[in-house]
């Protein structure tokens, strides 16, 4: 029974429909029940994601579904390959964790004896959380460039209000800046999409893959789309919107934004380069992308070293860690061969997954720390390990993964990329990988070393810390660790159901 | 006959171009708004002429514009009232 459901595409539909139902029910029941409704939905979403993974794992094939029975180019196809399934699982787990972690202020009633039917937070946060899941799942599943545009806008419209949840002037400004970057990014993506339609008469990714021909028009289209998506992914030098946005949001929202939301547009860059125009990108174009990634690693790393506040440090670290993702593009040129799906892509996606768990854990840990001691000044965190041991442990594990220390998931990702850099003779990327690791080590130990210090007076706790929320943070960090300990299965999953080489597909 | 309607449409388009000058030059906000109103009517005329030359759906577009043409003026007038405590009759330098 389960395998029959998981091998046909019905589960793909449910991964889109469930979060939308969550949104509609949250809208209807309001803040009083929004949390319950959305948490139930998130649990179901984890089940659906694991069902999809099972289906792909057992058949070794991608799962597809033609909505309304209309096949492309007229209709829209949903398609889950290994990449989608892995990212959907990450999304499901991180969003569930964010839901469980959400502080009391996001629940109903916000305070005892409150006469209101709902409070702003008790409705808005859950609605946005649900929308984020719907948007991410659509990004991972849609095979149609226009549906993916709608998905990008969903991601942005869910992310922007999250940034501004606290309503302070700084977060409003950060949210507005983020929205403008996101809008420009998606309109340039859409520009490329429509031009592709003008040349090839379809928006379906696998049909396009069989039709595209290299040429100046195609390069220009690809450039528009990639720049647009890079702006949304906060790829250096289009990153300026990210630190204030991610640092200003409430921790549960920061975790979603840094772990998931920025990955949506990265995932589309992957789709674009590896699936829409497989085999065509030129080495020089991918070197440019790699250079931007390298710039991000350096720039983000150095700025993270200079931050005085924990949340900003973590946000700058996101810029650096996103840089690694883009090293996958130049490295995807194997030993003199063309641009292809291979270990470089696996390394990049591994980095995306490991970073998602680690960064979500880290932002949530930072949130607990700020709540417990009333500030997040890095200089005053000395001795924190003695008062918040579990939180600090989680933070430490997540930090090890971001630095790339074995046996974490971050290590596996960086190791794969290093190996590819060595075997493909692109040693210069290896230099950036290693220096980036040292930078990450530097900024993380700025936090960890004082926190573990024994000879300082620990900060006083001004509020008790929920054991349950600490556990959620720790589980996320352990997931980043587990990704490294059990890396074989996920690495294999990432290679399943990838589209066959370009010349096989005929429209 | 269609050619005649095209010529008429082109002439109305020319008057639109001229009234644009008023939108651009002002000087008062009300002048710009009024010129925009005239442009709206001109646009409706063009659409009707297009409908006359065979594009039937143009009438519905014209109807939509006619229905909504007042909205901009209303939004302009009403929203200005809030800041009427400090009347700013914005003049070009």
């Amino acid at each position: 029974m389960i395998s029959s459901i998981s091998s046909d595409g019905t589960l793909l539909v449910f991964s889109l429909v469930l979060p939308v139902i969550g949104m509609l029910l949250a809208m209807l029941t309001g803040g009083r029940h929004a949390r319950t409704v959305v948490l139930l939905m998130l649990v179901a979403n984890v089940a659906v994601a694991s069902g999809i993974i099972t289906g792909i794992w057992e058949s070794g094939q991608a799962i597809t579904y033609h909505l309304g029975g209309w096949s492309p180019p007229l209709g829209i196809e949903l398609r889950a390959d290994g990449l989608s399934a892995a990212m959907m699982a990450v999304t499901a787990l991180v969003s569930l964790a964010a839901g469980l972690y959400a502080p009391a202020g996001f629940r109903f009633p916000p305070s005892k004896g409150s006469p209101a039917l709902e409070s702003r937070m008790s409705f808005v946060f859950w609605f946005l959380l649900s929308a984020t899941v719907a948007a991410m799942n659509l990004v991972f599943l849609a095979q149609d460039l226009f549906s993916l545009y709608v998905a990008l806008e969903l991601v942005a419209f869910a992310g922007v209000p999250m940034v501004a949840l606290s309503g302070s002037a700084n977060t409003l400004r950060a949210a507005l800046r983020y929205l403008i970057f996101a809008l420009i990014g998606s309109i340039f993506y859409l520009l490329g999409a429509v031009l592709l339609y003008g040349f090839y008469g379809t928006l379906d990714i696998s049909l396009l893959a069989g039709l595209v021909e290299p040429g100046p028009s195609l390069w220009l289209i690809l450039a528009f789309m990639t720049v647009g998506l890079a702006a949304k992914t906060a790829l250096f030098p289009l990153h300026i919107w990210l630190p204030p946005a991610h640092a200003g949001a409430p921790p549960a929202a920061s975790a979603l934004l840094s772990a998931l939301v920025v990955k949506a547009s990265f995932f589309l860059v992957v789709r674009l380069w590896f699936d829409v125009v497989p085999g065509l990108p030129s080495p020089s174009a991918s070197q440019v992308l790699g250079a931007m990634g390298a710039g991000a690693i350096m720039f983000g790393g150095v700025l993270a070293l200079l931050q005085a506040r924990l949340k900003l440090l973590i946000a700058y670290s996101t810029i650096a860690q996103l840089g690694y993702l883009f090293l996958a593009f130049p490295l995807a040129f194997g030993m003199g061969a063309g641009f292809e799906t291979g270990p470089a892509l696996t390394g990049g996606m591994f980095q995306a997954m490991a970073h998602a768990f680690a960064k979500a854990s880290m932002f949530m840990a930072a949130g607990l720390i700020a709540e417990a001691i009333g500030h997040d000044r890095i200089a005053d965190l000395g001795g924190l390990g003695r008062v918040l041991p579990v939180t600090c442990l989680a933070f430490g594990i997540a930090a090890l993964s971001l630095i790339g220390v074995p046996p974490t998931g971050g290590f596996v990702a960086k190791w794969i990329l290093l190996e590819v850099a060595a075997t493909s003779g692109q040693w210069w990327w290896a230099v950036f990988l290693i220096v980036g690791g040292f930078l990450a080590g530097g900024y993380m130990f700025r936090v960890i070393v004082p926190a573990l210090a024994r000879d300082v007076v620990p900060p006083t706790l001004i509020a008790p810390v929920s054991k349950f929320r600490e556990a959620v943070v720790l589980v996320l960090a352990l997931l980043a660790l587990a990704l490294g300990l059990f890396s074989d299965a996920p690495a294999e999953l990432l290679t399943l159901g990838r589209p066959p080489s370009a010349d096989v597909i005929q429209p | 006959m269609t050619e005649f309607l095209y010529v008429a449409a082109i002439l109305v388009l020319v008057t639109l171009a001229l009234s644009l000058a008023r939108v651009l030059r002002g000087p008062a906000k009300a002048d710009r708004m009024m010129a925009a109103q005239l442009l709206g009517t001109g646009g409706i005329a063009i659409l009707l002429l297009a409908a006359g030359s065979g594009l039937k759906a143009a009438t519905d577009v014209a109807l939509t514009l006619a229905l909504l043409s007042a909205l901009a003026a209303v939004a302009f007038v009403k929203s200005g009232e809030r800041s009427s405590s400090s009347p700013k009759n914005e003049k070009q330098p």
């Binding site: - | 006959m1 005649f4 109103q37 409706i44 007038v77």
Partner: protein, 95 residues
């Protein structure tokens, strides 16, 4: 027969376009906001009305004729009221 109708169309549409031109000239040349408003309403009401009249012989069904007249009526209502609103605003700002 159709020749006569065509002649009517040409006549009325030409007059309508003339009023548009006149209204525009007024809008550009008249010295102050209120007189410009006056020029504008003329163009709105008469110019469009004449064009509608001119196009009436060309419609295929009574429904389409009704729609044409409705457009005219709506523009009349809208322009009369919005000019009044704008005039009120002009007066208020001048006082």
């Amino acid at each position: 027969m159709s020749g006569l109708w065509d002649l009517l169309t040409i006549l009325f549409v030409s007059m309508g376009v003339f009023f548009f031109v006149a209204g525009t000239v007024g809008l550009l040349r008249f010295p102050d906001s209120l007189t410009r408003l006056h020029a504008l309403t003329k163009a709105d009401n008469l110019g469009l009305g004449l064009i509608v009249l001119g196009l009436l012989p060309r419609v295929e069904s009574p429904q389409d004729a009704l729609k044409l007249l409705l457009v005219w009526a709506l523009v009349l209502v809208a322009s009369a009221n919005s000019s009044q609103l704008i005039a009120r605003k002009v007066r208020r700002e001048e006082s």
